[in-house]
């Protein structure tokens, strides 16, 4: 998980010009780092490429809209890293 977190933290820092040392596993991409939906597309693209996956952003957004999930589950970075690890594992299964 830590290497995944490091990778996405670096992606966020580079994509959104956010100081790397201000990005922690507890950071919420939207609420804490101020990343908007357009910037998150760039981040998703970089993550998709780096990990060879397809982040299910639409599914996550729908789940949040339906009240079936909170944004914390997907956009707190340690949770995002865990989701990515799951997707990578599922790809290799």
């Amino acid at each position: 998980m830590s290497s995944t977190f490091e990778a996405i933290a670096n992606i966020i820092a580079e994509t959104c010009d956010i100081p790397r040392d201000s990005i922690t596993p507890e950071s919420h991409a939207i609420n804490d780092l101020g990343i908007d939906s357009l910037d998150f597309l760039d981040i998703a693209f970089a993550i998709d490429k780096a990990f060879g996956i397809k982040l299910p952003l639409e599914q996550w957004t729908q789940e949040v809209s339906d009240g079936k999930a909170t944004t914390d589950q997907y956009f707190v970075l340690k949770n995002l890293a865990a989701r990515i690890d799951e997707l990578v594992a599922a790809k290799g299964a």
């Binding site: 597309l41 760039d42 998703a44 693209f45 998709d48 982040l55 952003l57 639409e58 957004t61």
Partner: protein
């Protein structure tokens, strides 16, 4: 091009969904009120409209890839380069390659050539959403027919 209707693409020359590529033709009109201001005495195709031509070409590729079930909207333009002037009457070749299909977005590398030489290029991100209403979906289908994006073409490749 029908600049007054913001229709930048005249016809689809080639669509290859297997390779995720499209090639469109777009002829710059010889006369337009746009050229009265851009520029007086020296008409040039505005660079923003060249970007729009690349966006529309990319959009048709995404529309085709989604079998007319979803609609792309321009979200981001990166590394846009306008390499040479484009003059009234020139017949442009506008191509695009679907580099990545994400969840709710697509990234495409687009290019315009004239007479075999690079005119413009850019990397575009399109949001890909459900059609906001059935009327828009129907109008897109009609326009697709007008420029030669037919069901046969969508089924091929």
């Amino acid at each position: 091009m029908r600049l007054e209707y913001f229709q930048l693409i005249d016809r689809i020359v080639d669509l290859n969904l297997a390779d995720r590529k499209i090639n469109c033709e777009a002829t710059v009109p010889t006369a337009s009120t746009i050229f009265e201001g851009h520029f007086p005495g020296y008409p040039l195709m505005p660079g923003v409209l060249l970007v729009e031509a690349m966006a529309q070409t990319s959009g048709w590729l995404v529309v085709a890839a989604n079998r007319f079930e979803r609609m792309p909207f321009l979200a981001s333009i990166k590394d846009a380069k306008l390499r040479t002037f484009v003059l009234p009457g020139q017949v442009l070749s506008v191509t695009s390659h679907l580099a990545h299909e994400g969840s709710g977005y697509a990234v495409l590398n687009a290019r315009i050539n004239f007479d075999g030489k690079a005119v413009a290029d850019a990397t575009l991100t399109l949001r890909v959403l459900d059609f906001p209403n059935s009327e828009m979906a129907e109008q897109m289908r009609k326009q697709a027919d007008n420029i030669g994006l037919k069901i046969e073409a969508r089924a091929n490749g």
